[in-house]
């Protein structure tokens, strides 16, 4: 028997976890949809028509919130001394458990949230067509739901998936606190670096950078995030920053999932 990975066993595990998904996360999806309905109704009552961009932003925000909370809702008991025994004893390999965790906590959660929120939005438009600015589907929402956005969502969730395995209680709050700690540390380091090289040097560097930016930038439509991004990427420094961001992001995501794999493998009960 292959003790690392078999499609049959992985499929069975994924199917089992998908079957349990509505009971474990259905209420959260419903609550999130409820919040979105309240947001739409509030906009309606205040007679301000919710625009496409604000609706899409709200949907992305709700999806990110669901992704942040889903690891602890779906797999919160995995490292619990008593409650985690069923999971630890389930005859599937660590790789299969990790992959299934990824599919359920990212793919299933993102899909269920986006589909349900779009359905709610469509129903809302059908009920109050004069108050909303059209179907979301009829608008160019590719800019909001681009690969970059999903990459960022996955990165954020990976951090919370690892936090879910590291902490025993108050997993989301503790992970958030640790991330804030890191952010604070990074800003202190950045401050010290700027102080050591001198603020004038930094200002000169920024001026050189701005001089090298494309002229079209001044006349561009700032709401068109896609076109702004493509203009900025013409600058070699920005391009290097973007590559650096994705490289570090990819590394952090991979490290989080490897850490999760190791913790599933080595947790003692």
């Amino acid at each position: 028997m292959n003790n690392v990975f078999t499609i049959k066993r992985f499929g069975a595990l994924l199917l089992k976890e998908c079957r349990e998904f509505p009971a474990n996360f259905g209420l959260t999806v419903l609550s999130m949809n409820g919040i979105y309905v309240v947001f739409l109704l509030a906009s309606l009552l205040s007679s301000s028509s919710p625009g496409v961009f604000s609706r899409l932003t709200f949907i992305v925000f709700m999806t990110v919130m669901a992704l942040v909370f889903s690891p602890s809702k779906l797999y919160g008991t995995v490292n619990h001394k008593k409650k985690g025994l069923h999971y630890a004893q389930l005859p599937a390999s660590v790789l299969e458990k990790t992959l299934s965790m990824f599919v359920v906590s990212f793919v299933c959660v993102a899909l269920s949230m986006l589909v349900s929120l779009f359905v709610v939005d469509t129903l809302f438009y059908l009920l109050f067509p004069s108050y909303t600015s059209g179907f979301l589907f009829a608008n160019s929402w590719e800019g909001v739901f681009s690969g970059k956005v999903f990459f960022d969502m996955f990165l954020i969730q990976s951090l919370f998936v690892l936090g879910n395995m590291v902490f025993k209680r108050q997993k989301v709050a503790k992970t958030f606190a640790v991330l804030m700690g890191f952010a604070l540390l990074l800003s202190i380091v950045a401050g010290l670096v700027i102080k050591s090289i001198g603020i004038e040097a930094v200002e000169r560097f920024v001026e050189i950078l701005l001089d090298n930016f494309p002229q079209e930038l001044e006349n561009s439509d700032w709401r068109g995030m896609g076109s702004l991004s493509s203009l900025l990427s013409q600058n070699s420094f920005v391009r290097a920053l973007v590559i650096g961001k994705y490289s570090i992001g990819g590394l952090v995501t991979a490290s989080c999932w490897f850490g999760t794999y190791r913790l599933i493998k080595t947790t003692k009960y």
Partner: protein
Amino acid sequence: MIQINNLTFSYSKNNVLRDLSLSLTKGNVYGLLGQNGVGKTTLLKFLAGLQKSTKEACLVNGFHPYARQPEFLQDVFYLPEEPENPVGTVNQFVRNNGPFYRGFDYEQFCSIMERFEVDPRKKFRDLSAGQQKKAHVSYALALNTKILLLDEPSNGMDITSKSVFRSTVAGHISEEQLVIISTHQVRDLENLIDPVIILDQKQVLLHASIEEITQKLCFITASKEPEGVLYSEQTPLGYSLVKANTTGADTKVNLETLFNAALKQREWFKEHFKNGK
């Protein structure tokens, strides 16, 4: 089937197990007895791969348990004293999890549940504590794993259910299986447990079959406390006594008295029983 060699475990400066060695073979229902905190549950967790051990110290069914490989997990199941109750109905849980074990038999699960008079269509949260325990025990038995580790399985069960549990275990366990039952309720499981393992002071104090125990010990009741006995305790009917079997008498083992006698006469038991093997 299970080989433990010089297993040592401690936490927070407490040494729970020290150089513990055991060899257990299939076809037996082992009774694991011991006072609170001697490491019974810890030992079961080692065997289930839930605690870290080295391959040399613990080998179960040919596998290093802590590696938790699927092939190992398919044939070992540990039921804790207070299992976590899943969300949803008993049936949903069993149908979702059972098929991962190669020996799982849903019909058998239903038949055991019927004998326990518990409705598997009910949600766990709608069952009483005793019924929840019965549902978990039914599931554990229906998995038909080669090694079944039960921690206080009869706790919370009513008198009838304890009897059903005894007969179910006795009736369903094959020669290819090994069951370890850790319990304080020795009276509940008399006639089921054989051999007996008593853990004490971080080690195995007694590891012997019922036959070996009856060959070496006599269990008798008397109205007066005679001299020259290994152990005696007062009961409403007189005295329950344990003495060395020097006449070859064949008496029925009283597990509770045996346990108390072993703790009282540690040196005698260590001298007369070859432990750990």
